[in-house]
Symmetry: C2
Subunit: 271 residues, 2 copies
Protein backbone atom coordinates (compact mmCIF):
# COMPACT_ATOMS: atom_id res chain seq x y z
CA UNK A 1 0.00 0.00 0.00
CA UNK A 2 1.30 3.49 -0.87
CA UNK A 3 2.34 5.75 1.97
CA UNK A 4 -0.58 7.83 3.22
CA UNK A 5 -0.72 11.15 4.96
CA UNK A 6 -1.28 10.29 8.60
CA UNK A 7 -4.33 12.52 8.82
CA UNK A 8 -5.95 11.04 5.74
CA UNK A 9 -7.53 7.63 5.61
CA UNK A 10 -6.49 5.08 3.01
CA UNK A 11 -10.06 4.91 1.72
CA UNK A 12 -12.49 7.62 2.60
CA UNK A 13 -15.66 5.63 3.01
CA UNK A 14 -18.78 6.98 4.63
CA UNK A 15 -19.92 4.11 6.89
CA UNK A 16 -23.05 3.60 8.99
CA UNK A 17 -22.58 1.12 11.83
CA UNK A 18 -25.43 -0.46 13.78
CA UNK A 19 -26.16 -3.67 15.71
CA UNK A 20 -28.85 -5.47 17.67
CA UNK A 21 -27.07 -5.91 21.00
CA UNK A 22 -27.49 -2.20 21.71
CA UNK A 23 -25.24 0.84 21.37
CA UNK A 24 -23.38 0.16 24.64
CA UNK A 25 -22.28 -3.38 23.70
CA UNK A 26 -18.55 -4.17 23.25
CA UNK A 27 -19.04 -5.65 19.76
CA UNK A 28 -20.13 -2.37 18.17
CA UNK A 29 -17.28 -0.54 19.88
CA UNK A 30 -14.67 -2.90 18.38
CA UNK A 31 -16.32 -2.70 14.96
CA UNK A 32 -16.47 1.10 14.99
CA UNK A 33 -12.82 1.35 15.96
CA UNK A 34 -11.72 -1.02 13.20
CA UNK A 35 -13.84 0.58 10.47
CA UNK A 36 -12.61 3.99 11.58
CA UNK A 37 -9.30 3.05 9.95
CA UNK A 38 -10.86 3.02 6.50
CA UNK A 39 -13.65 5.56 6.71
CA UNK A 40 -15.79 8.03 8.58
CA UNK A 41 -18.11 6.08 10.84
CA UNK A 42 -21.55 7.18 12.04
CA UNK A 43 -23.03 4.92 14.72
CA UNK A 44 -26.84 4.66 14.89
CA UNK A 45 -27.85 1.75 17.11
CA UNK A 46 -30.65 0.62 19.40
CA UNK A 47 -30.69 2.05 22.89
CA UNK A 48 -31.66 -1.38 24.23
CA UNK A 49 -30.81 -4.94 23.24
CA UNK A 50 -32.99 -6.09 20.31
CA UNK A 51 -32.00 -9.71 19.75
CA UNK A 52 -34.40 -11.91 17.76
CA UNK A 53 -36.53 -8.96 16.68
CA UNK A 54 -36.18 -10.03 13.05
CA UNK A 55 -37.09 -7.34 10.55
CA UNK A 56 -39.45 -5.51 12.92
CA UNK A 57 -39.92 -1.79 12.32
CA UNK A 58 -41.56 0.70 14.66
CA UNK A 59 -44.80 2.20 13.36
CA UNK A 60 -47.27 2.21 16.27
CA UNK A 61 -45.17 4.52 18.44
CA UNK A 62 -42.73 7.27 17.44
CA UNK A 63 -38.96 6.93 17.67
CA UNK A 64 -36.64 8.92 19.93
CA UNK A 65 -33.02 9.63 19.04
CA UNK A 66 -30.47 10.58 21.72
CA UNK A 67 -26.73 11.09 21.72
CA UNK A 68 -24.65 8.30 23.28
CA UNK A 69 -21.22 8.70 24.87
CA UNK A 70 -18.39 6.26 25.60
CA UNK A 71 -15.43 7.12 27.79
CA UNK A 72 -16.70 10.69 27.88
CA UNK A 73 -16.61 11.08 24.07
CA UNK A 74 -19.51 11.28 21.68
CA UNK A 75 -19.96 7.78 20.24
CA UNK A 76 -23.18 7.82 18.19
CA UNK A 77 -26.95 8.03 18.10
CA UNK A 78 -29.13 5.77 20.24
CA UNK A 79 -32.56 5.00 18.80
CA UNK A 80 -35.55 3.79 20.83
CA UNK A 81 -36.31 1.11 18.23
CA UNK A 82 -35.14 -1.90 16.28
CA UNK A 83 -31.98 -2.45 14.18
CA UNK A 84 -33.99 -1.92 10.96
CA UNK A 85 -35.36 1.36 12.41
CA UNK A 86 -31.77 2.49 13.06
CA UNK A 87 -30.76 1.96 9.45
CA UNK A 88 -33.86 3.71 8.10
CA UNK A 89 -33.65 6.80 10.32
CA UNK A 90 -29.84 6.81 10.17
CA UNK A 91 -29.87 7.09 6.39
CA UNK A 92 -32.97 9.29 6.08
CA UNK A 93 -32.52 11.76 8.93
CA UNK A 94 -29.20 11.46 10.76
CA UNK A 95 -26.50 11.17 8.10
CA UNK A 96 -26.00 14.23 5.91
CA UNK A 97 -25.10 12.11 2.87
CA UNK A 98 -26.12 8.49 2.30
CA UNK A 99 -23.48 5.96 3.42
CA UNK A 100 -21.27 4.00 1.03
CA UNK A 101 -21.61 1.01 3.32
CA UNK A 102 -23.66 -0.22 6.28
CA UNK A 103 -22.14 -2.74 8.71
CA UNK A 104 -24.22 -4.40 11.43
CA UNK A 105 -22.54 -6.08 14.42
CA UNK A 106 -20.41 -7.46 15.82
CA UNK A 107 -23.18 -9.67 17.15
CA UNK A 108 -22.78 -11.88 20.19
CA UNK A 109 -23.78 -15.29 18.82
CA UNK A 110 -23.81 -16.77 15.30
CA UNK A 111 -26.41 -15.92 12.67
CA UNK A 112 -26.37 -18.98 10.46
CA UNK A 113 -28.98 -21.36 9.01
CA UNK A 114 -32.51 -20.63 10.29
CA UNK A 115 -31.22 -18.00 12.74
CA UNK A 116 -30.86 -15.56 9.83
CA UNK A 117 -34.65 -15.31 9.76
CA UNK A 118 -34.90 -14.21 13.40
CA UNK A 119 -31.80 -12.03 13.49
CA UNK A 120 -31.95 -8.31 14.18
CA UNK A 121 -28.29 -8.01 13.13
CA UNK A 122 -28.96 -9.46 9.68
CA UNK A 123 -32.22 -7.51 9.29
CA UNK A 124 -30.37 -4.23 9.81
CA UNK A 125 -27.98 -5.06 6.96
CA UNK A 126 -30.93 -6.26 4.91
CA UNK A 127 -32.70 -2.94 5.45
CA UNK A 128 -29.60 -1.24 4.01
CA UNK A 129 -29.75 -3.58 0.99
CA UNK A 130 -33.42 -2.65 0.54
CA UNK A 131 -32.30 1.00 0.51
CA UNK A 132 -29.70 0.16 -2.19
CA UNK A 133 -26.70 0.57 0.13
CA UNK A 134 -23.98 -2.15 0.15
CA UNK A 135 -23.97 -3.87 3.52
CA UNK A 136 -22.89 -6.75 5.69
CA UNK A 137 -23.87 -8.34 8.99
CA UNK A 138 -21.06 -9.60 11.23
CA UNK A 139 -21.50 -12.10 14.07
CA UNK A 140 -19.13 -13.96 16.37
CA UNK A 141 -20.03 -17.51 17.35
CA UNK A 142 -20.28 -17.17 21.10
CA UNK A 143 -22.86 -15.37 23.22
CA UNK A 144 -20.14 -14.68 25.78
CA UNK A 145 -17.42 -13.57 23.32
CA UNK A 146 -14.95 -11.14 24.86
CA UNK A 147 -12.23 -10.68 22.23
CA UNK A 148 -13.54 -8.97 19.09
CA UNK A 149 -10.14 -8.12 17.57
CA UNK A 150 -10.03 -10.78 14.87
CA UNK A 151 -13.70 -10.28 13.98
CA UNK A 152 -13.08 -6.53 13.72
CA UNK A 153 -10.08 -7.14 11.45
CA UNK A 154 -12.12 -9.39 9.13
CA UNK A 155 -14.89 -6.78 9.05
CA UNK A 156 -12.35 -4.19 7.97
CA UNK A 157 -10.91 -6.41 5.19
CA UNK A 158 -14.37 -7.36 3.89
CA UNK A 159 -15.65 -3.78 4.04
CA UNK A 160 -12.94 -2.81 1.59
CA UNK A 161 -13.85 -5.67 -0.73
CA UNK A 162 -17.62 -5.07 -0.67
CA UNK A 163 -17.29 -1.47 -1.77
CA UNK A 164 -14.78 -2.27 -4.49
CA UNK A 165 -16.59 -5.32 -5.85
CA UNK A 166 -19.71 -5.62 -7.89
CA UNK A 167 -22.31 -6.96 -5.45
CA UNK A 168 -25.77 -6.38 -6.90
CA UNK A 169 -28.02 -3.87 -5.15
CA UNK A 170 -30.32 -5.81 -2.86
CA UNK A 171 -27.70 -8.40 -1.88
CA UNK A 172 -25.82 -8.29 1.42
CA UNK A 173 -23.10 -10.37 3.00
CA UNK A 174 -23.80 -12.38 6.12
CA UNK A 175 -20.50 -12.96 7.90
CA UNK A 176 -19.96 -15.36 10.83
CA UNK A 177 -16.66 -15.59 12.66
CA UNK A 178 -15.59 -18.41 15.00
CA UNK A 179 -14.72 -17.25 18.51
CA UNK A 180 -11.25 -18.81 18.56
CA UNK A 181 -7.77 -17.24 18.61
CA UNK A 182 -6.70 -16.07 15.14
CA UNK A 183 -4.09 -18.83 14.80
CA UNK A 184 -6.83 -21.46 15.12
CA UNK A 185 -8.89 -19.99 12.24
CA UNK A 186 -8.97 -22.50 9.35
CA UNK A 187 -9.60 -19.86 6.67
CA UNK A 188 -12.47 -18.02 4.97
CA UNK A 189 -15.12 -19.74 2.86
CA UNK A 190 -17.98 -18.66 0.66
CA UNK A 191 -21.19 -20.25 1.99
CA UNK A 192 -24.94 -20.69 1.57
CA UNK A 193 -27.65 -20.53 4.25
CA UNK A 194 -27.88 -23.89 6.01
CA UNK A 195 -31.03 -25.90 6.67
CA UNK A 196 -30.50 -26.52 10.39
CA UNK A 197 -33.53 -25.57 12.50
CA UNK A 198 -34.48 -25.32 16.16
CA UNK A 199 -36.32 -28.05 17.96
CA UNK A 200 -38.28 -25.58 20.10
CA UNK A 201 -39.14 -26.33 23.69
CA UNK A 202 -41.32 -24.04 25.79
CA UNK A 203 -40.35 -24.48 29.41
CA UNK A 204 -43.47 -24.06 31.55
CA UNK A 205 -43.09 -22.37 34.94
CA UNK A 206 -45.46 -21.04 37.56
CA UNK A 207 -45.14 -17.49 38.86
CA UNK A 208 -45.43 -16.58 42.59
CA UNK A 209 -49.15 -15.88 42.01
CA UNK A 210 -49.90 -19.39 40.68
CA UNK A 211 -50.09 -18.43 36.99
CA UNK A 212 -48.20 -20.20 34.21
CA UNK A 213 -45.62 -18.65 31.92
CA UNK A 214 -43.41 -20.08 29.16
CA UNK A 215 -39.73 -19.60 28.27
CA UNK A 216 -38.54 -20.44 24.79
CA UNK A 217 -35.57 -22.82 24.72
CA UNK A 218 -34.54 -25.58 22.33
CA UNK A 219 -31.78 -27.35 20.45
CA UNK A 220 -30.43 -26.66 16.98
CA UNK A 221 -30.90 -29.79 14.87
CA UNK A 222 -27.88 -29.80 12.59
CA UNK A 223 -28.55 -31.41 9.22
CA UNK A 224 -25.86 -30.04 6.88
CA UNK A 225 -22.44 -31.56 6.24
CA UNK A 226 -20.78 -29.59 3.40
CA UNK A 227 -18.18 -26.89 4.06
CA UNK A 228 -19.99 -24.43 1.77
CA UNK A 229 -22.87 -24.25 4.28
CA UNK A 230 -22.63 -21.46 6.88
CA UNK A 231 -23.31 -23.60 9.95
CA UNK A 232 -20.78 -26.27 8.90
CA UNK A 233 -18.09 -23.70 8.09
CA UNK A 234 -18.15 -22.07 11.54
CA UNK A 235 -18.09 -25.47 13.27
CA UNK A 236 -14.84 -26.18 11.41
CA UNK A 237 -13.41 -22.80 12.48
CA UNK A 238 -13.80 -21.14 9.10
CA UNK A 239 -15.01 -17.57 8.68
CA UNK A 240 -18.30 -17.96 6.76
CA UNK A 241 -19.36 -15.37 4.15
CA UNK A 242 -22.83 -15.80 2.56
CA UNK A 243 -24.49 -13.56 -0.03
CA UNK A 244 -28.19 -13.24 0.85
CA UNK A 245 -31.08 -11.21 -0.55
CA UNK A 246 -34.71 -10.32 0.16
CA UNK A 247 -36.47 -11.82 -2.84
CA UNK A 248 -38.48 -14.53 -1.09
CA UNK A 249 -40.18 -15.89 -4.22
CA UNK A 250 -39.79 -19.65 -4.56
CA UNK A 251 -39.32 -19.71 -8.35
CA UNK A 252 -39.23 -23.49 -8.61
CA UNK A 253 -42.62 -23.83 -6.90
CA UNK A 254 -43.91 -20.87 -8.95
CA UNK A 255 -43.22 -22.89 -12.11
CA UNK A 256 -44.80 -26.05 -10.69
CA UNK A 257 -47.91 -24.17 -9.56
CA UNK A 258 -48.72 -23.26 -13.15
CA UNK A 259 -50.27 -26.75 -13.26
CA UNK A 260 -52.67 -25.84 -10.48
CA UNK A 261 -54.78 -23.75 -12.89
CA UNK A 262 -55.34 -21.47 -9.98
CA UNK A 263 -57.22 -19.00 -12.19
CA UNK A 264 -60.11 -21.48 -12.28
CA UNK A 265 -60.42 -21.77 -8.50
CA UNK A 266 -63.28 -19.32 -8.18
CA UNK A 267 -65.57 -20.84 -10.79
CA UNK A 268 -65.17 -24.35 -9.45
CA UNK A 269 -63.33 -25.64 -12.54
CA UNK A 270 -60.01 -26.25 -10.78
CA UNK A 271 -58.47 -29.69 -11.23
CA UNK B 1 -69.30 -33.87 -3.65
CA UNK B 2 -70.70 -36.94 -1.92
CA UNK B 3 -73.37 -36.39 0.69
CA UNK B 4 -71.87 -35.93 4.13
CA UNK B 5 -73.27 -36.58 7.56
CA UNK B 6 -74.28 -33.16 8.85
CA UNK B 7 -72.14 -33.57 11.93
CA UNK B 8 -69.06 -34.54 9.95
CA UNK B 9 -67.02 -32.06 7.93
CA UNK B 10 -66.31 -32.64 4.24
CA UNK B 11 -62.59 -32.64 4.99
CA UNK B 12 -61.42 -33.18 8.51
CA UNK B 13 -58.40 -30.89 8.60
CA UNK B 14 -56.70 -29.87 11.78
CA UNK B 15 -56.07 -26.13 11.29
CA UNK B 16 -54.15 -23.57 13.36
CA UNK B 17 -55.28 -19.98 12.73
CA UNK B 18 -53.31 -16.91 13.78
CA UNK B 19 -52.82 -13.29 12.68
CA UNK B 20 -50.94 -10.11 13.52
CA UNK B 21 -53.88 -7.73 14.07
CA UNK B 22 -54.63 -9.46 17.38
CA UNK B 23 -57.10 -12.12 18.48
CA UNK B 24 -60.01 -9.69 18.79
CA UNK B 25 -59.79 -8.38 15.20
CA UNK B 26 -62.66 -9.03 12.76
CA UNK B 27 -60.37 -10.59 10.11
CA UNK B 28 -59.44 -13.59 12.24
CA UNK B 29 -63.07 -14.10 13.20
CA UNK B 30 -64.18 -14.30 9.54
CA UNK B 31 -61.26 -16.61 8.70
CA UNK B 32 -61.97 -18.94 11.61
CA UNK B 33 -65.64 -19.18 10.68
CA UNK B 34 -64.88 -19.99 7.04
CA UNK B 35 -62.16 -22.56 7.80
CA UNK B 36 -64.47 -24.15 10.36
CA UNK B 37 -66.43 -25.49 7.37
CA UNK B 38 -63.54 -27.70 6.30
CA UNK B 39 -61.77 -28.55 9.53
CA UNK B 40 -61.27 -28.23 13.24
CA UNK B 41 -59.80 -24.83 13.95
CA UNK B 42 -57.59 -23.89 16.89
CA UNK B 43 -56.98 -20.14 17.21
CA UNK B 44 -53.68 -19.02 18.77
CA UNK B 45 -53.15 -15.30 18.17
CA UNK B 46 -51.47 -12.28 19.70
CA UNK B 47 -53.28 -10.57 22.54
CA UNK B 48 -52.29 -7.20 21.09
CA UNK B 49 -51.81 -5.86 17.56
CA UNK B 50 -48.38 -6.86 16.19
CA UNK B 51 -48.20 -5.20 12.77
CA UNK B 52 -44.74 -4.76 11.19
CA UNK B 53 -43.05 -6.96 13.78
CA UNK B 54 -41.54 -9.08 11.01
CA UNK B 55 -40.23 -12.43 12.17
CA UNK B 56 -39.61 -11.31 15.75
CA UNK B 57 -39.74 -13.99 18.42
CA UNK B 58 -39.89 -13.47 22.17
CA UNK B 59 -36.82 -14.67 24.07
CA UNK B 60 -35.97 -11.97 26.62
CA UNK B 61 -39.25 -12.27 28.51
CA UNK B 62 -41.53 -15.29 28.99
CA UNK B 63 -44.84 -15.73 27.19
CA UNK B 64 -48.29 -15.82 28.79
CA UNK B 65 -51.21 -17.72 27.29
CA UNK B 66 -54.80 -16.87 28.21
CA UNK B 67 -58.20 -18.02 26.93
CA UNK B 68 -60.08 -15.55 24.74
CA UNK B 69 -63.85 -15.37 24.32
CA UNK B 70 -66.10 -13.88 21.62
CA UNK B 71 -69.85 -13.45 22.07
CA UNK B 72 -69.54 -15.36 25.34
CA UNK B 73 -68.04 -18.47 23.67
CA UNK B 74 -64.48 -19.74 23.88
CA UNK B 75 -62.69 -18.50 20.74
CA UNK B 76 -59.01 -19.35 21.17
CA UNK B 77 -55.73 -18.74 22.94
CA UNK B 78 -54.29 -15.24 23.30
CA UNK B 79 -50.49 -15.07 23.51
CA UNK B 80 -48.52 -12.14 24.94
CA UNK B 81 -46.13 -12.23 21.98
CA UNK B 82 -45.63 -12.02 18.24
CA UNK B 83 -47.34 -13.92 15.39
CA UNK B 84 -44.28 -16.22 15.05
CA UNK B 85 -44.45 -16.92 18.81
CA UNK B 86 -48.11 -17.92 18.41
CA UNK B 87 -47.28 -20.51 15.75
CA UNK B 88 -44.38 -21.94 17.73
CA UNK B 89 -46.21 -22.27 21.06
CA UNK B 90 -49.45 -23.22 19.32
CA UNK B 91 -47.83 -26.20 17.63
CA UNK B 92 -45.47 -27.15 20.47
CA UNK B 93 -47.66 -26.69 23.56
CA UNK B 94 -51.27 -25.86 22.80
CA UNK B 95 -52.41 -28.26 20.05
CA UNK B 96 -52.54 -31.91 21.00
CA UNK B 97 -51.52 -33.05 17.50
CA UNK B 98 -49.58 -30.95 14.96
CA UNK B 99 -51.84 -29.11 12.50
CA UNK B 100 -52.29 -30.13 8.86
CA UNK B 101 -52.36 -26.46 7.93
CA UNK B 102 -51.60 -23.03 9.41
CA UNK B 103 -53.44 -19.97 8.09
CA UNK B 104 -52.47 -16.43 9.14
CA UNK B 105 -54.89 -13.54 8.64
CA UNK B 106 -57.05 -12.07 7.38
CA UNK B 107 -54.74 -9.08 7.64
CA UNK B 108 -55.96 -5.51 7.33
CA UNK B 109 -53.72 -4.17 4.55
CA UNK B 110 -51.84 -5.84 1.70
CA UNK B 111 -48.60 -7.77 2.14
CA UNK B 112 -46.99 -7.49 -1.27
CA UNK B 113 -43.55 -6.49 -2.61
CA UNK B 114 -41.20 -5.24 0.14
CA UNK B 115 -43.99 -5.35 2.75
CA UNK B 116 -43.54 -9.13 2.94
CA UNK B 117 -40.26 -8.51 4.76
CA UNK B 118 -41.89 -6.45 7.52
CA UNK B 119 -45.10 -8.44 7.83
CA UNK B 120 -46.08 -10.24 11.00
CA UNK B 121 -48.87 -12.00 9.09
CA UNK B 122 -46.46 -13.50 6.57
CA UNK B 123 -43.88 -14.32 9.25
CA UNK B 124 -46.43 -16.40 11.16
CA UNK B 125 -47.07 -18.52 8.06
CA UNK B 126 -43.33 -18.64 7.42
CA UNK B 127 -42.75 -19.96 10.94
CA UNK B 128 -45.19 -22.78 10.11
CA UNK B 129 -43.23 -23.52 6.92
CA UNK B 130 -40.03 -23.64 9.00
CA UNK B 131 -41.80 -26.21 11.21
CA UNK B 132 -42.69 -28.26 8.08
CA UNK B 133 -46.42 -27.45 8.24
CA UNK B 134 -48.20 -26.31 5.03
CA UNK B 135 -49.31 -22.71 5.45
CA UNK B 136 -50.58 -19.51 3.93
CA UNK B 137 -50.84 -15.84 4.83
CA UNK B 138 -54.00 -13.99 3.78
CA UNK B 139 -54.33 -10.21 3.54
CA UNK B 140 -57.00 -7.84 2.26
CA UNK B 141 -55.87 -4.67 0.51
CA UNK B 142 -57.38 -2.04 2.75
CA UNK B 143 -56.46 -1.03 6.29
CA UNK B 144 -60.11 -0.15 6.91
CA UNK B 145 -61.64 -3.27 5.29
CA UNK B 146 -65.00 -4.22 6.80
CA UNK B 147 -66.29 -7.05 4.61
CA UNK B 148 -64.14 -10.18 4.88
CA UNK B 149 -66.62 -12.59 3.26
CA UNK B 150 -64.94 -12.94 -0.13
CA UNK B 151 -61.46 -13.13 1.42
CA UNK B 152 -62.71 -15.83 3.80
CA UNK B 153 -64.20 -17.78 0.88
CA UNK B 154 -60.91 -17.63 -1.07
CA UNK B 155 -59.02 -18.75 2.06
CA UNK B 156 -61.32 -21.75 2.33
CA UNK B 157 -60.86 -22.72 -1.34
CA UNK B 158 -57.08 -22.32 -1.18
CA UNK B 159 -56.79 -24.21 2.12
CA UNK B 160 -58.31 -27.24 0.40
CA UNK B 161 -55.87 -26.96 -2.49
CA UNK B 162 -52.74 -26.47 -0.36
CA UNK B 163 -53.32 -29.62 1.64
CA UNK B 164 -54.14 -31.69 -1.41
CA UNK B 165 -51.31 -30.36 -3.60
CA UNK B 166 -47.62 -31.02 -3.50
CA UNK B 167 -46.12 -27.80 -2.10
CA UNK B 168 -42.58 -28.49 -0.86
CA UNK B 169 -41.96 -28.30 2.87
CA UNK B 170 -40.55 -24.85 3.59
CA UNK B 171 -42.70 -23.06 1.01
CA UNK B 172 -45.81 -21.09 1.92
CA UNK B 173 -48.43 -19.18 -0.04
CA UNK B 174 -48.75 -15.45 0.35
CA UNK B 175 -52.29 -14.47 -0.65
CA UNK B 176 -53.53 -10.91 -1.20
CA UNK B 177 -57.15 -10.11 -1.89
CA UNK B 178 -58.51 -6.83 -3.28
CA UNK B 179 -61.06 -5.13 -1.05
CA UNK B 180 -63.77 -4.87 -3.70
CA UNK B 181 -67.16 -6.57 -4.05
CA UNK B 182 -66.82 -10.13 -5.40
CA UNK B 183 -68.35 -9.22 -8.78
CA UNK B 184 -65.52 -6.73 -9.36
CA UNK B 185 -62.77 -9.34 -8.80
CA UNK B 186 -60.89 -9.88 -12.09
CA UNK B 187 -59.73 -13.41 -11.19
CA UNK B 188 -56.90 -15.23 -9.42
CA UNK B 189 -53.27 -15.11 -10.60
CA UNK B 190 -50.06 -16.80 -9.62
CA UNK B 191 -47.50 -14.12 -8.75
CA UNK B 192 -43.94 -13.33 -7.63
CA UNK B 193 -42.80 -10.87 -4.98
CA UNK B 194 -42.64 -7.36 -6.49
CA UNK B 195 -39.75 -4.92 -6.28
CA UNK B 196 -41.71 -1.86 -5.10
CA UNK B 197 -40.22 -0.25 -2.00
CA UNK B 198 -41.06 2.52 0.43
CA UNK B 199 -39.65 6.00 0.11
CA UNK B 200 -39.42 6.46 3.90
CA UNK B 201 -40.07 9.79 5.53
CA UNK B 202 -39.60 10.38 9.24
CA UNK B 203 -41.95 13.15 10.30
CA UNK B 204 -40.26 15.15 13.06
CA UNK B 205 -42.46 16.51 15.85
CA UNK B 206 -41.84 18.16 19.20
CA UNK B 207 -43.47 16.82 22.36
CA UNK B 208 -45.06 19.08 25.03
CA UNK B 209 -41.71 19.02 26.89
CA UNK B 210 -39.70 20.39 23.96
CA UNK B 211 -38.11 17.09 22.89
CA UNK B 212 -38.16 15.73 19.35
CA UNK B 213 -39.73 12.48 18.23
CA UNK B 214 -40.13 10.84 14.80
CA UNK B 215 -43.05 9.08 13.11
CA UNK B 216 -42.36 6.75 10.20
CA UNK B 217 -44.41 7.58 7.09
CA UNK B 218 -43.65 7.30 3.38
CA UNK B 219 -44.84 6.42 -0.09
CA UNK B 220 -44.65 3.10 -1.91
CA UNK B 221 -42.62 3.60 -5.09
CA UNK B 222 -44.27 1.26 -7.58
CA UNK B 223 -41.85 -0.08 -10.17
CA UNK B 224 -43.46 -3.26 -11.52
CA UNK B 225 -45.83 -3.52 -14.48
CA UNK B 226 -46.45 -7.24 -15.16
CA UNK B 227 -49.58 -9.03 -13.96
CA UNK B 228 -47.53 -11.89 -12.50
CA UNK B 229 -46.17 -9.52 -9.83
CA UNK B 230 -48.12 -9.39 -6.54
CA UNK B 231 -48.42 -5.62 -6.30
CA UNK B 232 -49.59 -5.26 -9.93
CA UNK B 233 -52.13 -8.08 -9.60
CA UNK B 234 -53.95 -6.54 -6.64
CA UNK B 235 -54.03 -3.12 -8.32
CA UNK B 236 -55.89 -4.75 -11.20
CA UNK B 237 -58.34 -6.39 -8.78
CA UNK B 238 -56.87 -9.88 -9.07
CA UNK B 239 -56.41 -12.18 -6.09
CA UNK B 240 -52.61 -12.64 -5.90
CA UNK B 241 -51.10 -15.99 -4.83
CA UNK B 242 -47.29 -16.14 -4.43
CA UNK B 243 -45.19 -19.12 -3.32
CA UNK B 244 -42.41 -17.87 -1.01
CA UNK B 245 -39.74 -19.58 1.07
CA UNK B 246 -37.07 -18.81 3.67
CA UNK B 247 -33.89 -19.70 1.82
CA UNK B 248 -32.33 -16.26 1.56
CA UNK B 249 -29.16 -17.36 -0.27
CA UNK B 250 -28.52 -15.32 -3.42
CA UNK B 251 -27.26 -18.21 -5.58
CA UNK B 252 -26.40 -16.02 -8.55
CA UNK B 253 -24.13 -13.81 -6.46
CA UNK B 254 -22.75 -16.91 -4.72
CA UNK B 255 -21.53 -18.15 -8.11
CA UNK B 256 -20.08 -14.75 -9.06
CA UNK B 257 -18.27 -14.42 -5.73
CA UNK B 258 -16.20 -17.49 -6.51
CA UNK B 259 -14.04 -15.05 -8.47
CA UNK B 260 -13.37 -13.02 -5.33
CA UNK B 261 -10.90 -15.67 -4.08
CA UNK B 262 -12.21 -14.82 -0.65
CA UNK B 263 -10.14 -17.63 0.89
CA UNK B 264 -7.04 -15.50 0.27
CA UNK B 265 -8.36 -12.44 2.08
CA UNK B 266 -6.55 -13.13 5.34
CA UNK B 267 -3.09 -13.63 3.92
CA UNK B 268 -3.24 -10.48 1.82
CA UNK B 269 -3.13 -12.34 -1.51
CA UNK B 270 -6.67 -11.40 -2.56
CA UNK B 271 -7.10 -9.90 -6.01
Amino acid sequence: MAHQNENKKAIDLNILVTNDDGIYSPGIFALTKSLGEIGNVTVVAPLQEQSAVGHAITMQIPLRVTEAFKNGDFFGYAVSGTPADCVKIGIRNIMKVPPDLVVSGINHGSNTAINIIYSGTVSAAREAAIMDVPSMAVSITNHAAKDFRFAAKVSNLLANKIVGKDIPLGTLLNVNIPDVPEEKISGIVLTKQGKSKWDDIYEKRTDPYGKNYYWLTGNLMEVDTELDIDQVAIKKNYVSVSPIHFDLTDYETFDKMKNWNIERLLNGKEN
